[in-house]
Symmetry: C2
Subunit: 383 residues, 2 copies
C-alpha cells in the first residue's frame, strides 16, 4: 500500500425527502444564498420550488443564476460570481447535475478573488485558501462531484477543458434524493452510468497494490452493471436509481484512492477533448474511448482486467471477457462506443490530435504519445 | 436502501512516517496540548519521542497524562480532564490504542463541561456541542475509533460499560503508521483482528438491503482472513500490518453503514459485560461470543451467512461453511472461542446474566431476552 490521506468533510444526506433538511443546514451559513441552476428543468419538476421553500423557512433570501450548460464554461461562472458579489451572497446552493455543481464550486472559490475564476484552473493564480460554503441538491447520478473537491470547466475560445481541485471546493452538505433523478431521460441516465464506471476504472487500472480499494472497485463495477440494467429496463425503479446514485458518489469520493497514487485519468483527458470540440455528453465520450483505450493497452492491463473479470463475471472469466462485457454493456444501455455514433468524422483526426496535444493528454501510468493517441482514435473509428 | 447520512470529517494520514505531519497539523489548533497515553509502551518504543519532537518543532507545549488502562474507566478520564483544565490545554493528543483514543475523546468533550464525563455516557447530561480538537497517533489496529465519533468507557464500581457518540468526538486528524503497530505482540494483534471482524459483522448482519455496503463487508472479512493469516505468520510483515490497519479503520468509519439502519451490536453488548466483569480484552471476548451468537440465531441469519460464505469462500459454500471458517480462524490466530479459555466458570452464569440485564443487552435486530442470553452463554461454555 502507498501512503495516502483519507479526508472528506462533505456531509451527504441520502434518500427520499432529504431536501427537507436543507433549511436547517443552510441557516448555519448565513442569510443570503446564490442559487445556481442549469437550463431550467428543475424549475418545472418541483425541485427548485422545494429548495425555495426550505430557504424561505430558514430565513435565507436568494438570487437565482440560471443557464449553466453541460460542458460548462468559465464565462458563465464569472458572470455568476459578479452576481454573487453584487448580492453579497454568503453561500452558494447548486441545484442540478455535475455541470451545475462544478460551476457552483468555481463560484464558491471565485467570489472575492478579484480575478477570473479561469486563472485558478490554468494555475496562473495561487490556490484559494477559502471559499463560500456550498450546498448541493443533486438531480443526476454521474460525476461524484457532490462529495469531492474536484471541478471541471472549459474555455470554448481556445479549446481547453481544465480540472481543478482544492479543499475549499468540498461542498458543506449535499442532498441526494434518488427520486430527484427519476425524471432523467434514458440517454443521460446511461451517460451517467458510463461516467461512474469510468471513475472506477481510472483509479482501478493503476498498477499499484491496495487490496481493499481494488476489491471495492470491482464491487462498484459489478453493481453498476446489475443496477444499470435494472434501471434502463425501468427508469422509475427507485431502488435502482438509489443504487446508481450511491455508486456514482462512492466512485469518486476518495474511497477508491486509499493506498494508491491517484489513478491514471488518461481516458478522461482524451474525452475532454471530444467534449470541448463536439459538445458531446462526457459519459458518451467516455464509453466511446474506454474500449479502444483498453485495446491499445491490452497487454499492460492484463493483470488488472483478469482480476476484474474474475470478481465481476466468474472465477473462470478472462480479461477479454471483461472487455467484451464492458463494451456490450455500453451498447445495451445505448451509450456510444464508436466515434461515428457521435458523428465525429475521420477527417477530423488531425484536429482532435491537436487538441489532445494542447491539453497535454498523456495519462498517469499508461503513457500516451502522439502515435498512441492516434492508435486509440483509429480503434474508436473502427468496425 | 434506507435513508442515511454519510459524514466523516476526520482526516487520516496513513503510511510510513506520517507522524512527521503532526507538528504542522497541531500548530493549527493552539500552543498547549494534553497528551494522553496508556501504561507506557509508547515511552520505550520511540513513538512518544517522535510526538514530542513534532510538538516541540511546532511550538506546542504539553503535559503528559499517563496510565489509561485497557477497558478504560471514567475516573481516569475525569482526572485527565482536571489536568487539562489546570494546564489550559487547547488540544488533546492521544498516543496509543483504542482505549487511549476513547479516553482522549472523552477528555475532549469533558473539558469545561463542569461535571463528570460519565454523565455524558449515562445520558444524564445534555450532549456536548463542542470539544477540544483531538489528534490521534494510533499504535494498535483494532477498534476503528481513529476515524469515528464513538467512545466506550466503563464504571468499575457499578459494572456498567457505556458507549457514547457525538460529532465533537471526531478526531481532527489521525496518524496511522503501520510500523507503529509492528511491536504489538501476537495476542493483542489477534484480538485486534477479532475486533475489526466483529465491527463488520455487527453492521453486515442487519437484515436490510444495501448492496454496496454488504459487498464491502464481505471484502473486509475476506481480506481480514487473508492478511490476518499472513500477519500471524510474521508479525513484522509491513504489508500485512498496513492492510489490517486500514481494514480496521474502514470497518467502522461509516462506509459499512451507508443505506442501513445502524447495525445490531448485540454481540458487543454481551462482550462488554465480560470485559467489565473479568477485564478480558475486548477482541478476545468478541471471538468467544460471536460463534455462539451465530448458532443461537442460525435460522434467522441464514441468508446473510449464505451470501457471506459465497463471497468470502466459494460460489458453492454455505452458511455453515462460513461459521466453521470464522471459528476456525479465531482458533488459528489463538483468539479464544469458549468462556473456559478465559477462565470464566459456569458457576458465574447468574452473575453474568445479571450484568447483561443491568446493561440492557437486547440487540438491535436479533432480539435477546433472558432465555436467549442464557442460551448463548451455554453455547459459549459448550464443547
Amino acid at each position: 500500500m502507498q501512503n495516502f490521506t483519507s479526508y472528506n468533510p462533505t456531509k451527504v444526506h441520502f434518500g427520499k425527502g432529504v431536501v427537507e433538511k436543507l433549511g436547517v443546514e443552510a441557516a448555519q451559513y448565513g442569510r443570503k444564498a446564490l442559487i445556481v441552476i442549469g437550463r431550467g428543468s428543475v424549475k418545472t419538476n418541483g425541485v427548485l420550488d422545494a429548495v425555495f421553500k426550505q430557504l424561505e423557512t430558514a430565513g435565507v433570501t436568494h438570487v437565482l443564476f440560471e443557464g449553466i450548460k453541460s460542458n460548462p464554461i468559465y464565462q458563465d461562472v464569472d458572470s455568476a460570481i459578479a452576481v454573487a458579489e453584487a448580492f453579497g451572497a454568503e453561500m452558494v446552493v447548486a441545484v442540478g447535475g455535475g455541470s451545475v455543481v462544478d460551476s457552483a464550486k468555481a463560484v464558491a472559490i471565485g467570489v472575492g478573488a478579484g480575478h477570473s475564476v479561469w486563472d485558478f484552473y490554468t494555475r496562473t493564480a495561487p490556490a484559494p485558501t477559502k471559499g463560500l460554503p456550498l450546498l448541493c441538491v443533486l438531480t443526476l447520478a454521474a460525476t461524484g462531484t457532490e462529495q469531492n473537491r474536484n471541478s471541471v470547466i472549459q474555455n470554448d475560445a481556445d479549446g481547453r477543458k481544465m480540472g481543478y481541485s482544492c479543499d475549499a471546493m468540498y461542498p458543506k452538505v449535499s442532498f441526494l434524493d434518488p427520486e430527484y433523478t427519476v425524471s432523467v431521460p434514458a440517454n443521460y441516465t446511461a451517460y451517467g452510468i458510463s461516467d461512474l464506471i469510468s471513475h472506477v476504472l481510472e483509479q482501478y487500472v493503476e498498477p499499484t497494490d491496495s487490496p481493499l480499494s481494488n476489491y471495492i472497485a470491482t464491487d462498484i463495477i459489478k453493481l453498476a452493471f446489475e443496477h444499470g440494467r435494472k434501471l434502463m429496463a425501468d427508469l422509475t425503479d427507485y431502488d435502482a436509481r438509489a443504487n446508481i446514485l450511491w455508486l456514482s458518489t462512492m466512485a469518486l469520493n476518495g474511497t477508491l484512492s486509499a493506498g494508491k497514487r491517484g489513478g491514471d485519468w488518461g481516458v478522461h483527458g482524451l474525452e475532454h477533448s471530444l467534449s470541448v470540440l463536439y459538445d458531446i455528453p462526457h459519459g458518451a465520450g467516455l464509453s466511446i474511448i474506454y474500449p479502444s483505450w483498453i485495446r491499445a493497452f491490452r497487454t499492460e492491463l492484463e493483470p488488472k482486467l483478469d482480476f476484474m473479470a474474475k470478481r465481476v463475471l466468474s472465477p473462470t472469466a478472462t480479461g477479454d471477457d471483461f472487455l467484451n462485457e464492458l463494451e456490450g454493456f455500453y451498447k445495451e444501455i445505448n451509450s456510444p462506443t464508436r466515434l461515428s455514433e457521435a458523428n465525429i468524422p475521420v477527417a477530423d483526426k488531425a484536429k482532435i490530435l491537436e487538441n489532445f496535444a494542447l491539453n497535454k493528454v498523456v495519462g498517469g501510468f499508461y503513457k500516451m504519445d502522439e502515435a498512441k493517441r492516434a492508435e486509440i482514435l483509429d480503434l474508436a473509428w473502427g468496425e
